[in-house]
C-alpha cells in the first residue's frame, strides 16, 4: 500500500454504554505511515473509540473501514486478524505467563512463521525485555509491562498499531523510551500508529497529525505542530508545564 492512502477510516461513529452515549458521531482518519494522536481529558471517550474499533463495544451508528474493508460488524478476533494490533489500556499482559510466552501469544496470528525473527526485533527495540525473558509478566515493572504489551502487539506483524495510553503511570524517563521506540518503529518500518494519550505534549510532539476529543466529539484536528501551537489546546491540555 502506498504512503498517503487511507488505512483506517472512522465515519460518524456513535457508541453507547446502555443508554448513555459515549461517542457522538466521531470522524477520524489514519493514513498509511502516519502517527496519529488522539488527545483529550478523562472521560472524553478516547478509550471508547479505541475499543469500538475492535468491536467491543460495537458502534451503533457509523462505519469503520480498514484498508477498504468494512469492519464495523466483525467479531473482535476477526478484526485482530485484519492485522490491527492493540496495546490496550491497562496493558493487559498475561501476568502468570513468562515474557517469552506473552510474546508467543502475540504471534498466534502470524502462525509463528516469523517468530524467531520478530522476537529478536522486539528485543532490539526493548533490550530490557530480553533481561526479563523467563520472568512472569506480572512481576515486571509498569514500564516493562508496557514494553511487553507493545512488543506482544508487534509480534502479530500489524499494519496498524493501536496504543491506548502507553505513558499511563510511568516515570518520565520510561515514557521517553517508549515514545522513542514508537518513533523508531514508524521511521524504520513505516508502521502506522494510532495513539490515545492524556500526555498531550509528548503525544503531539510525536504525532504527524492529531485529534482533540471533548465529551464524545472530535472538536479539533490538525498536524501535531499546529495543535501544539493552538492557544485553546495549550490552555486546555498543556498549561501547567510539560509532562
Amino acid at each position: 500500500m502506498m504512503a498517503g492512502t487511507t488505512l483506517l477510516d472512522i465515519k460518524g461513529v456513535q457508541t453507547y454504554y446502555g443508554n448513555i452515549r459515549a461517542l457522538n458521531g466521531v470522524d477520524v482518519t489514519v493514513k498509511q505511515g502516519e502517527i496519529v494522536a488522539l488527545i483529550g481529558a478523562n472521560g472524553a471517550g478516547k478509550s471508547t473509540l479505541m475499543m469500538t474499533i475492535f468491536g467491543a463495544p460495537r458502534a451503533r451508528a457509523g462505519t469503520i473501514t480498514f484498508a477498504g474493508t468494512d469492519i464495523t460488524q466483525l467479531p473482535t478476533h476477526e478484526i485482530a486478524r485484519m492485522r490491527i494490533a492493540q496495546s490496550p489500556e491497562g496493558r493487559r499482559i498475561f501476568p502468570r505467563m513468562t515474557v517469552m510466552e506473552n510474546l508467543q501469544m502475540g504471534a498466534s496470528l502470524d502462525d509463528l512463521k516469523h517468530y524467531d525473527e520478530d522476537v529478536e526485533k522486539v528485543f532490539t527495540l526493548f533490550p530490557r525485555l530480553k533481561e526479563r525473558i523467563a520472568q512472569r509478566g506480572g512481576t515486571l515493572s509498569g514500564g516493562e509491562q508496557q514494553m511487553l504489551s507493545i512488543g506482544r502487539a508487534l509480534m502479530a506483524r500489524p499494519k496498524l498499531l493501536l496504543l491506548d495510553e502507553p505513558s499511563l503511570g510511568l516515570a518520565p524517563l520510561i515514557v521517553k523510551q517508549i515514545f522513542d521506540a514508537i518513533r523508531e518503529l514508524n521511521r524504520t518500518q513505516g508502521l502506522t500508529v494510532f495513539l490515545v494519550e492524556q500526555n498531550a505534549f509528548g503525544a503531539l510532539k510525536l504525532a504527524t497529525r492529531g485529534y482533540v476529543m471533548v465529551n464524545g466529539n472530535v472538536t479539533m484536528s490538525g498536524t501535531g505542530k499546529e495543535l501544539l501551537a493552538d492557544p485553546d489546546v495549550r490552555a486546555a491540555y498543556l498549561e501547567g508545564g510539560h509532562h
Binding site: A56, H77, P88, R92, F94, R96, E101, M105
Partner: protein
C-alpha cells in the same frame, strides 16, 4: 523525654500460664460448639417417637481432648516450632535439618527389623497377642513400612527429584507384578499371590488411577483454561452409560465403544459449552453444577432407557483386544488359552494396565497440547479474555475445545469405570464425585500433572487405608466405621495443604516457550489457587 512503658500481658505471663489460659478458651469454644452436635443426639425410640439421647461423657472427652491439645501446642509445640523454624516459609516444607533428624539410620534399621519380625509372625499374631493387640501390631507394621519407605525416598531424594516422572511411571508399570510376587512369596504359592493381589490392584491401583485420569481431564478445563466446572461427573456418567447401554443392548466391543464414549462426552461438553460461553467464575460454576445434576436426574427418571435408579448390570467385560476373554465360560478364556490356573486377578491386572495406559494418554495429550497454540490459548484465556480476543484468538472455539477435550477424557474414564464395575447406576455420579475430583485438582496444584497425581494417591489411597484401620474399633467401639470419616480426612487434608502450600502440592508452572534453556518459574510468583 521519659520513655513510658506499659506492662505487656504476654510478657508477664509465663508460657505455662498462657497455655493454661488458651486451653481454657479452647475448651469453652469446644463446649459451645459441640454441646448440640455431640452432647445431644436425636433418635427414635421403639414407638417411633423422637427422643433426645444425652451423651455428656462423649462431650466431656471431646472437650478435654481439645483442651489438652491446645495446652500441649501452646506450652510445647509453639516454642518448639519457633526454635526449629520448622516450616520453611517459602516452600512450606520441613527444613533439611529437621528431616535429617527425623530420618536416621538407627530408626530406619529399627523400622526394617520391626517390619521383618511382624511379617514373620504374621500368621501367629492373633494367637500370640490376642485379636485386640494383633490389630495394633498390624498398624505398627504399616507405620514402620511407611517410615522405612519414606527413609529410602529421603536418602535418594535428589535422584528421585531429578527423575520423578520416569521413576513414577516405572513404579506404576511394575506395581501389579511386585504385588503378585511379594504376595506369592508371602503366601507360599503363585495362586495365593494372584488371589491376594486383588485388593491391592483393584481397590488401590485401579481406583486411584481412575481418579488420576478424571482429575487430569478436569485439569484441562479448570487448571489450564480456568473455567470452574462443578459438574464434571456428568461427562463421566455420559461415558459410563454410553458403554453400559451400547455394550449391553448391541453387544459392541469395548474397543469400539471407548472412543465412541469419549466422542459422546465431548459432544455433551460442547453442548454444555455453548450456553455458558459468556459466563465466568461463579456463574459458570453454578451452571455446570446444574448440568451435572440434570444428567443425573435424567439417568434416574428416564427409566425406559436407563433403567432408573436400579441401574444397568451385566455390562460386558473388556476383552484382551479380542484375542482372549476374561469370562470363565468362554472358549478363549485367558487361563485356557495360556494354560494357567483360573483366577479373577488376571482381569483386574489387565484393567490396571488399561487404565494406566489411558492415564498416560491423558498426560501425553495434555503435555503436548500445552505446547501447541490451542493449549497456550487456554492458558492465556485463563489470564485475560479481553487481551486474548484482541490478539486474534477466537475465545468461543478456545473455550469449546477446552470443554470438549476435558469431557472426552471424562468419557474415557466413564466407559472404563462401567467395564470395571460391570454395573452402573446414577448413584455413582453424584455431586460429591465432582467435588472430590475438583478437590484433587486444587490440592495437587492447578495445571500440575505430577501434583494432581500425588493428590489423587493421597486422597483416594487415604480413604482406602481407612478401611484397614480395624484396630480403631477396639478404641471407639465395634460400631465405629473408619471409612465414614473419609470426608473428615478430606477436609483436614485440604485445610493443612491450603495453610502450608496454598498453591497446591506443586505450585510452580512450567513455561512452554524458551529462548535457549528452560527454567522453571518459582511457585512464589504464582497467584494463590492458580497454576
Amino acid at each position: 523525654m521519659a520513655v513510658t512503658t506499659s506492662p505487656e500481658r504476654d510478657i508477664v505471663a509465663t508460657p505455662m500460664q498462657r497455655a493454661t489460659r488458651e486451653a481454657l478458651y479452647a475448651g469453652a469454644i469446644a463446649l459451645g460448639l459441640f454441646v448440640l452436635f455431640i452432647g445431644l443426639r436425636t433418635d427414635q425410640n421403639i414407638s417411633n417417637e423422637l427422643i433426645l439421647v444425652q451423651r455428656w461423657w462423649l462431650l466431656a472427652v471431646v472437650v478435654v481432648l481439645t483442651m489438652a491439645g491446645r495446652f500441649l501446642y501452646v506450652a510445647y509445640g509453639q516454642p518448639f516450632l519457633a526454635n526449629q523454624k520448622i516450616v520453611d516459609v517459602a516452600t512450606g516444607l520441613l527444613p533439611q535439618s529437621m528431616a535429617a533428624r527425623f530420618f536416621r539410620l538407627p530408626y530406619f534399621i529399627a523400622a526394617v527389623v520391626t517390619v521383618a519380625v511382624l511379617v514373620f509372625l504374621a500368621g501367629s499374631l492373633d494367637g500370640l497377642l490376642g485379636p485386640g493387640l494383633a490389630g495394633y501390631a498390624r498398624f505398627l507394621r504399616a507405620l514402620a513400612t511407611i517410615y522405612a519407605l519414606a527413609s529410602v525416598m529421603f536418602y535418594f531424594r535428589t535422584f528421585i527429584h531429578a527423575h520423578f516422572s520416569a521413576l513414577g511411571i516405572t513404579a506404576l508399570a511394575l506395581y501389579p507384578i511386585i504385588v503378585v510376587l511379594v504376595l506369592a512369596v508371602y503366601g507360599g504359592s503363585v495362586a495365593a499371590g494372584f488371589q491376594g493381589s486383588l485388593k491391592w490392584v483393584d481397590n488401590y491401583g485401579i481406583q486411584i488411577l481412575i481418579y488420576v485420569m478424571l482429575a487430569w481431564g478436569l485439569n484441562i478445563v479448570v487448571g489450564l483454561a480456568g473455567l470452574l466446572d462443578l459438574g464434571y461427573v456428568a461427562f463421566y456418567a455420559v461415558g459410563a452409560y454410553a458403554y453400559a447401554l451400547l455394550g449391553t443392548q448391541y453387544g459392541l466391543s469395548f474397543w469400539i465403544l471407548l472412543p465412541a464414549a469419549g466422542a459422546m462426552a465431548a459432544f455433551w461438553g460442547v453442548l454444555l459449552g455453548f450456553p455458558v460461553l459468556r459466563l465466568r467464575g461463579d456463574y459458570l460454576a453454578i451452571v455446570t453444577l446444574a448440568f451435572g445434576e440434570i444428567i443425573r436426574l435424567v439417568l434416574i427418571n428416564w427409566r425406559e432407557v436407563t433403567n432408573g435408579s436400579a441401574g444397568i448390570s451385566g455390562i460386558p467385560k473388556v476383552t484382551f483386544f479380542g484375542l482372549m476373554s476374561f469370562n470363565v465360560s468362554d472358549p478363549n478364556y485367558i487361563a485356557k488359552v495360556l494354560d494357567i490356573a483360573t483366577s479373577s486377578a488376571y482381569y483386574k491386572i489387565f484393567l490396571y494396565y488399561l487404565i494406566l495406559g489411558l492415564c498416560l494418554l491423558t498426560a501425553f495429550v495434555t503435555i503436548r497440547l500445552r505446547r501447541m497454540p490451542v493449549g497456550r490459548a487456554w492458558e492465556a484465556l485463563r489470564e485475560d479474555e479481553i487481551a486474548c480476543r484482541s490478539l486474534g484468538i477466537n475465545t468461543t472455539t478456545t473455550k469449546l475445545t477446552a470443554f470438549a477435550t476435558g469431557a472426552m477424557f471424562g468419557g474415557f474414564a466413564g466407559s472404563f469405570f462401567a467395564a470395571r464395575q460391570g454395573f452402573v447406576s446414577p448413584e455413582s455420579f453424584i455431586f460429591l464425585e465432582s467435588a472430590i475430583i475438583l478437590a484433587i485438582v486444587v490440592l495437587g496444584g492447578m495445571g500440575s500433572l505430577v501434583g494432581i497425581a500425588v493428590a489423587a494417591m493421597v486422597m483416594i489411597g487415604g480413604t482406602e487405608v481407612l478401611r484397614e484401620l480395624d484396630f480403631l474399633k477396639q478404641v471407639f467401639g465395634p460400631d465405629f466405621t473408619p471409612e465414614l470419616y473419609r470426608m473428615l480426612l478430606f477436609g483436614m487434608a485440604m485445610v493443612i495443604v491450603m495453610l502450608w502450600k496454598p498453591r497446591g502440592f506443586v505450585g510452580s508452572r512450567e513455561p512452554t516457550a524458551f529462548l535457549k534453556e528452560r527454567r522453571a518459574v518459582s511457585g512464589s510468583f504464582t497467584k494463590e489457587g492458580h497454576g
